[in-house]
């Protein structure tokens, strides 16, 4: 997939990479929607690939894409055969316009309505440079791939690491032990990872850890990391860069630029500052926090919640074959992210929640992220996610799903009282469920699954007049 990030655009074609967790139904739907002509499948995913092609043949009269396998076994590797037999000289097919598409990235769509984000050459070039700069990737880095390359083109870093003459350490699967081993063995200088990857590192058993050969810069994004997790990994020698973006912004779009004077602040304060999403990077014209109804910017008060919006070169060309969704997402000339944020007096933005994750209880907005941060700081907690549970009286109440650390214990009452000591009472969860959290392939917690579970619980308040 790394090589294809270069070969496919240089052949004048568009690269479309699929999530390796998709099932045959989704793969078939995306093959059809994308109109893929060539379908490269790693051998361990061939069953899904073949089943998807069969579905496609059954449902469509169009020509099927050519299937080529990529295999660890050189004997049956179509891809390596292709490379071996290619002419030594090849004239690159340059795009006619820098706004021509370079890649198509399917994001949170469904089989009946795939959502394919179109990247163009100009945007990819600029976002690659901006990501490399935001993340202090100097010449000749060694980059550990924990972020999948199928996700926002690996935050543009297949291009970015090559641009800086770097070495790529690729992993098919990883654990904390594999991460520590790879860093020590290869002298890793940079890696990426969702906050759940940071959490995995922070909670690794001592036996799985190895000393770092030098500072390891970690770009984290996808969800705001809890301050406690930030602190824990920095104590191990990782330097965390907090970034924020969407598939629709080619991945990274803001960065929490670190001020040297903050080094002297207490650890808790440093973690609080670093958990903010910061400023737009140098390749996008701007990030703003706006009232989506009036399109007016919120004041720089750290309080007023609005919607984070972007405009500029590194906003997608649009959703493939979906002009309505494209126009809706770009209403008023700004990309609407669906993320709720505030603007601090120093100009840094901070996410409060996904619009759909906010909990509205008794008319008050509760940021699930703020409640999660507090639960995360409980010593027994490994992971936490907070969603809305429907309520006859309050409308919604916060419901926490919590995974405890191995060997640790805590009760529902303890977690609730821990939160009530640290938050306004209305923000503390009223329900705590102890269980493993469902994850996406990029390590994000699947809140829609938890929301379904909370909905199935029904109202906590039994009469409209009871007081909690």
């Amino acid at each position: 997939m790394y090589e294809l990030h270069f070969a496919v655009p240089m052949a004048g074609a568009v690269l479309c990479t699929f999530n390796t967790r998709h099932d045959a139904a989704m793969v078939s739907a995306l093959l059809k929607h994308s109109g893929a002509k060539v379908f490269l499948v790693e051998s361990h995913l061939l069953d899904v690939g073949r089943a998807a092609l069969k579905r496609l043949a059954d449902s469509s009269a169009a020509a099927l894409p050519v299937l080529l396998t990529i295999s660890d076994d050189a004997e049956s590797d179509d891809y390596e055969d292709l490379v071996r037999n290619a002419p030594a000289r090849f004239d690159i097919r340059w795009p006619a316009s820098e706004l021509d598409p370079i890649s198509l990235n399917y994001t949170s769509g469904t089989t009946s309505r795939p959502k394919g984000v179109v990247y163009n050459h100009r945007g990819a070039y600029l976002n690659t440079i901006a990501t490399v700069l935001a993340y202090d990737i100097t010449a000749m880095p060694t980059y550990l791939w924990t972020v999948p390359m199928f996700h926002c083109n690996g935050w543009n870093l297949p291009w970015g690491v090559a641009m800086q003459g770097g070495t790529n350490i690729c992993l098919r699967h990883f654990t904390a032990k594999v991460i520590f081993d790879s860093i020590a063995r290869h002298g890793v200088t940079h890696m990426g990872g969702a906050p759940t990857v940071l959490n995995m590192i922070a909670n690794a058993p001592a036996a799985d850890r190895k000393p770092l050969p030098g500072p390891v810069r970690v770009m984290t994004g996808g969800a705001p990391p809890p301050p406690r997790v930030l602190l824990a990994v920095e104590e191990l020698g990782f330097v965390v860069y907090q970034i924020y973006g969407l598939t629709e912004t080619y991945g990274p779009a803001t960065v929490c630029t670190w001020m040297p004077e903050w080094d002297a602040l207490p650890a808790e304060e440093r973690a609080r500052l670093k958990a903010r999403q910061g400023f737009h990077h140098i390749a996008v014209q701007g990030v703003d926090v706006k009232n989506p109804d009036t399109m007016e910017s919120v004041p720089y008060d750290g309080q007023t919640v609005g919607e984070a919006m972007f405009r500029g070169n590194t906003v997608m060309s649009g959703y493939y074959k979906d002009l309505n969704a494209t126009e809706e997402s770009m209403a008023g000339g700004w990309l609407h992210t669906g993320d709720l944020a505030v603007r601090h007096p120093d100009g840094y933005i901070q996410l409060k929640d996904r619009a759909k994750d906010i909990i509205i209880s008794g008319g008050e907005n509760i940021s699930s992220i703020e409640v999660e941060s507090v639960i995360f700081s409980h010593p027994a907690v490994l992971e936490a996610a907070v969603v809305a549970r429907p309520d006859d009286h309050w409308g919604e109440t916060p419901c926490a799903f919590v995974k405890l650390k191995d060997g640790a214990s805590a009760t529902e009452a303890e977690i609730i009282s821990f939160c009530r000591e640290r938050l306004p009472h209305y923000m503390a969860p009223k329900t705590v469920v102890f269980e493993d959290l469902p994850k996406t392939s990029t390590g994000k917690t699947q809140k829609f699954v938890l929301r379904e579970k909370a909905r199935a619980m029904g109202s906590l308040t039994k009469t409209a007049n009871s007081k909690l």
Copy 2:
């Protein structure tokens, strides 16, 4: 001038900065050619500025530009008054097209034919980013200004240092002592400097030196640095980045990318590799070494000399009001640099000489740079420049101008024999003159002055049949 790099483009105007060494005649010619509307002059240059305006008034019926002074004395500072009285809110006048001009940089022209290089917003943006990346300027640098900001817009670093949130240390004049003092006092992380600045550092008396607070990255360019000088400054803790470019390429356009495996090579070999000009940076489409007659690329043999040429986004829009010169310089779709170079087997280019500096003796091309490098390695030599002296028999012979170190001594015969031991005999100078070398304001040796002197000496060979 730093602030004006932002204020002028943001006001929708074009920034045109003059060399502070220009006399009233040249300033008057450039004011006229550029059509400047506002003329900002530092108070210590007011005599030249007023004389230039008087000349302009005498020679032209056009309206004179408005004169505004910039003064160290707040009482009489038009510029600070303007800033103080400006409205608090100002709407940036964005360029209508990214190809609109941002600055006009006069380079080696004459009063009768000024040569004004037009930069556009797109090129300046891209070259700023490429320079920051080529030079490993990570977040929050402290930059020492030894390269004048009027030269190629200070290699784009007024914009680049701001982009990375840096601190600027500005000097009106400098010596080696001032450089060492500034580095120690301000914790300088990056600086620029022509090879003559490196030489000044390498030869600073012990009393003028101070230990560096950390590695100081120095971007050098303008002329290829002699290997001995590279070695000497690296021993002091400077990390040298060898770059190459022209005013016509927004300054930096290639960089000698350092391969980690070269760290293990002997010092002489490292210096030899680092003296090469390398590859094009990420913002220009390409550098090539071509035969200017056929426009064919030279082979990657490190031997065949051709002309270095560029094309891509960071090649100038053109020469202002001079379409003929623009078309001539861009013949065949590539910017012709006038610099002679070879391409090494590893793809790195290396300058051999300016086309006009090459010495042709008995039909052989002699690179003045190669001869200078050898003379520089003589322990008594502080500076050296080699030019052609006309010769009745050989056509030309190499003539060296040498400045010795304080207290050191060497004779003409010693220098010649030192060179003959290290170079083919025909390359060794036949004449050595001991004197101070004339310099431009950016520290380049003014070879045209020396060439005049050598021409005035007449032929060394007295009869057409004599053998030397």
